[in-house]
């Protein structure tokens, strides 16, 4: 369970995130929706250690990750994608995915410095695993391409592969289908369902209500930094407060 308790983030006088408590269970897809500027991405940044909390706590399983640095949080089993994709544009798809394996990229320092056989084996293993994952996502054709030259949808997939490479227990997806067409989005939805079935907990941040409703068991609604509703998608979408936030927001 990924557990947020009374999490707040105040910037100057603005309460970007205000007293948010949220449970993200394993094996499920949890939705987080809300109008622009509601603080959705800020929550992801807070969870992944990219900015400090003003108040509150975050626990991953039994570990307190409230103040842990970002790389520790990753090693504790948490991965994310970025809303504004952050790929290494000049590097190939396979190299981009390989950096995602960093958590498993282990070899002794002298071996790494001198590229001794153990380090070479490690590189070869990771390259194979990256290639396998790229094939699984149907992108073999692009493995040797610079990531920056790919279409939007393909870049999003590379980001998801990179996040998955660390084999996270929890995955935070920040608008993963933005800029995709329906066919691409459906393909991703199938992948997300499979990841959840494998036991991973997913937090899905989306604008697209239909997409969220079709995937999530539970949806939380954020407005002005506060949670205003939560429950089954169908109920939440009928909630007058939610409708007001969307229409008014």
């Amino acid at each position: 369970m990924l557990r947020l308790r009374n999490v707040s983030r105040h910037i100057g006088g603005i309460r970007a995130v205000d007293d948010v408590s949220l449970d993200i269970p394993p094996g499920r897809i949890t939705g987080l929706i809300g109008p622009n500027g509601a603080g959705k991405t800020t929550i992801v940044n807070l969870i992944t250690g990219m900015m400090p909390l003003t108040a509150g706590s975050i626990h991953l399983g039994g570990t307190d990750i409230t103040r842990a640095p970002a790389h520790r949080i990753c090693r504790a089993g948490l991965a994310r994608t970025f809303q504004n994709m952050r790929l290494m544009a000049d590097e190939t798809v396979i190299d981009n995915v390989m950096i995602g394996f960093h958590r498993h990229d282990r070899c002794a320092l002298p071996a790494a410095l001198l590229n001794l056989p153990s380090a070479r084996r490690m590189t070869a293993t990771l390259r194979r695993r990256a290639a396998a994952m790229i094939a699984e996502f149907g992108m073999e054709r692009f493995a040797g391409f610079p990531a920056g030259g790919l279409s939007y949808g393909h870049q999003r997939r590379v980001e998801i592969m990179r996040a998955l490479a660390s084999d996270p227990a929890f995955l935070l997806l920040d608008e993963p289908i933005a800029g995709m067409n329906d066919v691409e989005a459906d393909a991703l939805a199938a992948i997300f369902r499979r990841l959840a079935a494998e036991g991973r907990g997913i937090l899905l941040i989306e604008h697209d209500m239909r997409f969220v409703a079709s995937l999530c068991d539970h949806v939380h609604v954020l407005d002005g930094g506060r949670l205003i509703a939560g429950g089954r998608p169908a109920e939440v979408l009928r909630d007058p407060a939610v409708i007001a936030a969307y229409l008014g927001g």
């Binding site: 970002a70 990753c74 950096i99 990229d105 001198l114 590229n115 380090a119 692009f142 391409f145």
Partner: protein, 290 residues
């Protein structure tokens, strides 16, 4: 042939020494640290070796080892505060470091010879030794690139936040890059001392810093071939014609402006990217289309 070698030995030696310094600078930039400390680290190495040789009559091997350790130790200590700073601030802090090393060298006259410098250092490093050191450095940099270290450095340099969320410990990797840079700078500083008979503090001040930086900027700072190409061009260029030698600093200045504006990746990196783009030559609708 024999005469050719004799005539060009000083140039080859200069090239090999500066190649080492260029890689020391390259490694930190590669790991996303905007450090200009290489000059100071080289100075520490050179003076460690020089003082050991002149004042204590130590064996050159001991001097080289001590200089390498001193360089990496100083770099490691320096990396702690630098980890808390960003871009411009790192640059300023490291320039300050270079100035501190310079002022201390000037002041500590009984040990370092002050403004007069150190003289009568036994000359023990010939072309062979320099070549071995340069090749060793080249191998290290080339090898490292292909392992987890190179992959992590790449990620850090391009996007720190992204690298951290992928589990890369930025502080540790940058400290490692720094220590390596210091070790290489210290080593070649020592070789400089054992090669040149004499040292003076001004040698490792601002002009040195600029020369080393220029090699890496011109050659390219993301591929192993970069510093090699940059150093070769800037060392050989002044030898081609007298006016080029007389206007060395002017040429460096113009070159820095032109390269950073029009070929910001440097020669090697630009060639590699162009080559890769040609090889792919865009099959089908693949790239670009939504």
């Amino acid at each position: 042939m024999g005469q050719w070698i004799i005539a060009y030995t000083p140039l080859v030696d200069l090239f090999l020494l500066h190649l080492g310094f260029a890689y020391a600078q390259y490694i930190v930039l590669r790991a996303g640290v905007f450090s200009l400390a290489t000059a100071g680290l080289a100075g520490i190495g050179a003076y460690t070796a020089g003082v050991l040789a002149v004042k204590l009559g130590a064996h050159p091997a001991l001097g080289v080892a001590a200089a390498t350790l001193a360089g990496s130790g100083a770099a490691l200590v320096l990396s702690l505060p630098l980890a808390r700073l960003r871009g411009v601030y790192q640059a300023i802090a490291t320039v300050a470091f270079v100035q501190i090393v310079y002022s201390v060298n000037l002041w500590a006259e009984p040990v370092t010879g002050g403004a007069m410098g150190l003289n009568n250092i036994p000359r023990t490093a010939g072309t062979g030794v320099l070549a071995v050191a340069a090749l060793g450095t080249l191998y290290l940099v080339w090898a490292m690139e292909r392992t987890r270290l190179g992959r992590a450095f790449n990620a850090i340099r391009q996007d720190e936040a992204m690298a951290a969320t992928l589990g890369v410990d930025i502080v540790r990797h940058q400290a490692l890059a720094f220590a390596l840079s210091g070790a290489i700078a210290g080593l070649f500083g020592a070789l400089e001392a054992y090669h040149a008979y004499a040292l003076d503090p001004g040698q490792f001040a601002f002009p040195f810093l600029i020369a080393i930086l220029s090699y890496v900027i011109l050659g390219g700072r993301n591929s192993v071939a970069g510093p090699l190409i940059g150093t070769a061009i800037l060392i050989i260029l002044p030898e081609l014609a007298r006016p080029l030698a007389e206007n060395r600093m002017l040429i460096y200045g113009v070159m820095l402006i032109l390269v950073i504006n029009f070929l910001p990746r440097g020669i090697a990196d630009s060639l590699i990217l162009a080559w890769r783009a040609r090889r792919l030559a865009r099959p089908e609708p693949a790239a670009g289309e939504p």
